[in-house]
């Protein structure tokens, strides 16, 4: 890539909950924004442009909320940009914000994403108010069944992912679900939602927001010199494929494979399983973890479930996945993708707190949307040339 280096120097998120009745939309996003600005030791005056991402406006009933949020986000007199790429939107928001800096147009850009699910009914909105919505769980269940059939994975794999992510969430002060007594037995005993996905293998509905400050090489170097390590953006990509046609494989989507290839090629990653220290993958239903491990080249085809089974993806394993607790523990939909990107950045900054992966130098953040069609990924590193 011929583009100038850019980096994350500030990360912030809200405490995610079922209902954040204590804050307005504006209050919710500001909570994340000010944490990110504090983290970057900046104020709103240092921000040149704002990029806002969220999932469908029908979720809350506010059309183009970036208009109303211009004031709360300190965007008056600045560019205010709005992205919407289905579930991947949080990730794409970070990528578009980075693009503002890479293009040389702005020095420091704020990426913000939010969802306040309690204000509306996401399942109703998914059906566009016309009823007959399968819900996301219903839409993904056939893909999960196909994965199980192809790989021959045993049924406890999904339960293990659900337990792992909820245990990780106990170490994340911002996580929504805190299930202290989570166990395989408890997951197994929870109600069947969409065969084979059980209640405790599903993501919650959350109110929450995330914000990330992205700046240029000089800004990142200044932060580093001040003892605040930046997360250098090594590469990023967004890829999409059409909804449905014979030959499309939603279990191993071509857009996911291409998105991974774009990022790995540009970042110089030739052996993702060994070169990537930790991954934040968008896993709203437990079985998506092995599916994405395979699509993103972190496991061979048909082998992703084995990394779950042998503990490789646990916090103490050699490739921790969703150390933050992931989407299974907090799901403010539009922000869920940005949270993946932000958590990956925090890992390589050594700023992940109790869920820090020891010695993480390279991490990926990934988000997907629609029926496994929209993919966004970035690779971040503790240095610009982590592989020498």
């Amino acid at each position: 890539m011929s583009t100038p280096p850019v980096a994350v120097v500030g990360v912030g998120q809200t405490h995610h909950k079922s209902r954040r009745l204590d804050v307005s939309f504006g209050g919710l996003v500001r909570e994340a924004v000010f944490r990110a600005l504090d983290d970057a030791q900046m104020s709103l005056d240092d921000i040149d442009a704002v990029v806002l991402g969220k999932a469908p406006d029908l979720f809350e009933g506010v059309m183009k909320p970036e208009l109303y949020l211009s004031d709360a986000l300190g965007a008056v007199g600045k560019p205010m940009f709005r992205v919407h790429t289905a579930g991947s939107v949080g990730g794409t928001t970070a990528i578009v914000a980075a693009s503002h800096v890479q293009a040389g147009k702005h020095r420091t850009v704020l990426a913000v994403a939010f969802e306040k699910q309690s204000e509306g009914n996401a399942q109703f909105a998914l059906g566009s108010g016309k009823g007959a919505s399968l819900g996301a769980g219903g839409a993904f269940a056939p893909f999960i069944r196909a994965y199980i059939q192809r790989s021959g994975a045993p049924e406890h794999i999904g339960w293990k992912v659900a337990v792992k992510d909820r245990l990780n969430a106990l170490k994340n002060p911002y996580a929504h679900l805190k299930i202290e007594d989570i166990s395989i037995e408890k997951v197994k005993a929870s109600p069947m939602m969409w065969e084979p996905t059980r209640f405790l293998e599903s993501c919650p509905s959350s109110d929450g927001a995330c914000a990330v400050v992205i700046t240029d090489e000089a800004g990142a170097n200044a932060a580093a010199a001040d003892g605040r390590p930046p997360a250098w953006i090594l590469a990023s990509s967004s890829r999409s494929e059409p909804p449905s046609f014979p030959g499309r494989d939603p279990v191993r989507p071509a857009a996911a494979l291409q998105c991974a290839a774009d990022v790995y090629t540009a970042a110089g990653i030739t052996d993702p399983r060994r070169q990537i220290d930790t991954a934040e993958l968008y896993v709203p239903f437990s079985w998506l973890e092995p599916i994405w491990l395979e699509a993103f080249g972190l496991a061979d085809v048909g082998e992703g479930w084995k990394l779950v089974d042998d503990g490789t993806t646990e916090l103490g394993g050699s490739l921790p996945v969703n150390a933050s607790g992931g989407v299974l523990s907090s799901n403010p939909i539009g922000a869920s993708g940005l949270l993946r990107f932000a958590e990956a950045a925090n890992q390589v900054r050594g700023a992940a707190g109790e869920h820090q992966v020891d010695g993480a130098k390279v991490a990926i953040g990934m988000a997907y949307g629609a029926n496994n069609q929209y993919f966004s990924t970035w690779a971040v590193g503790s240095s610009l040339h982590p592989f020498g």
Binding site: D57, Y68, D71, P79, V83, H84, A86, V96, S238, S240
Partner: protein, 341 residues
């Protein structure tokens, strides 16, 4: 920082017929617009490196409405792609940024909307502050009328000059227009836009590729957009500071423009923006008829850039395109296009 380091140019664009209502889906409209934009250039969908679509779920009346539009792009093999819940002019902005990263050469951006399927008076209150403004249920006409009154009070417009704008956009004679009843004082029917279904697609290319594909690319030499305070009652409605900042950042003052395409859905907005942008009588404004003639919301702004590009394609030197979003011109975008001999 208005000028990019890499040459990026508009090399073609197309729009569907602009109609009061079509039964075609947005995907079908985009299929036609994209094909019509790329075929004259001798390229196919396979040559497109990046796509960015602009549309709005609330206009379409469906969550995730843009997802099916991937069929119109022909995103197979999968494309580098994005979508903005904004007018296609902002999709153009994202593509312009993306192309400057230098690893790709051709982008297609679109704007699409079928306003005929909804009632603006019901939909638009939902883009207002949900706590203090949306509950008022004020429709776009109400907010536009408030701004028109401010613009008239400031001496920038009067009902006659507004009617003259309407006549230039879509014909008629001033006296008979002024004899009509008010729709929302001081606005009459001729002061407000039609409801239009339609889509537009635009092709961008980087320097050498642009010059290979067309004789006279319309180079984007300045591009900026800005937002303002949301609540119209906290703004000076007889001004448009965000337009002024965007125009300065885009380098409008560096050289004169011959034409300007302004996204003005209401007649008084043209008079206000002419003043804010400092456009003299020698600048041809909205030769296309603008949004007062055809207003395919979510594509209207992109069409302004398209008409400005047509001026360059036809041998013109420098053109301005403007797009807007939000109540009373809350958010404004300025794009400067230039030809080179």
């Amino acid at each position: 920082m208005g000028a990019p380091s890499t040459d990026i140019a508009v090399i073609g664009w197309a729009q569907t017929p602009m109609v009061r209502h079509t039964d075609k889906s947005e995907t079908q409209l985009l299929m036609e617009a994209i094909t019509d934009a790329i075929v004259p250039l001798g390229i196919s969908r396979a040559d497109i490196d990046f796509t960015c679509l602009g549309s709005c779920d609330y206009i379409t009346g469906q969550a995730f409405s843009f997802v099916s539009n991937l069929d119109a792009i022909g995103a197979w093999p999968p494309k580098r792609d994005s979508h903005v819940e904004m007018d296609g002019a902002w999709a153009l902005y994202e593509a312009w940024l993306r192309l400057q990263e230098g690893d790709i050469e051709i982008a297609v951006v679109t704007g699409s909307g079928r306003s005929s399927t909804g009632d603006p008076a019901l939909i638009y209150p939902m883009e207002m502050d949900p706590y203090f403004l949306a509950p008022l249920g004020a429709d776009p006409l109400t907010f536009a009328a408030l701004q028109a009154r401010a613009v008239i009070a400031a001496g920038i417009a009067d009902e006659r000059s507004m009617a003259e704008v309407a006549v230039r956009a879509r014909g008629g004679d001033v006296e008979s227009l002024l004899a009509e009843e008010y729709l929302r004082q001081p606005l009459r029917r001729h002061d407000v836009p039609p409801i239009t279904d339609g889509a537009a697609a635009m092709v961008l290319a980087t320097g050498d590729r642009a010059r290979q594909l067309v004789e006279r690319p319309a180079y984007i030499t300045g591009f900026d957009h800005r937002t303002e305070c949301h609540n119209p009652s906290f703004r000076a409605l007889d001004d448009s500071p965000s337009t002024r900042i965007a125009a300065e950042a885009a380098g409008l003052r560096d050289a004169p423009v011959e034409v300007a395409e302004l996204q003005v859905a209401f007649t008084h907005e043209e008079l206000l923006l002419r003043q804010v942008l400092g456009l003299g009588d020698d600048v041809v404004v909205n030769r296309s008829g603008g949004a007062l003639r055809e207003n395919p919301i979510m594509a209207t702004g992109l069409c302004r850039v398209g008409h400005a590009a047509d001026h360059i394609f036809g041998g013109g030197g420098r053109a301005l395109a403007h797009a807007t979003s939000g109540p009373c011109l809350q958010q404004n975008l300025v794009c400067i296009l230039e030809g080179r001999s």
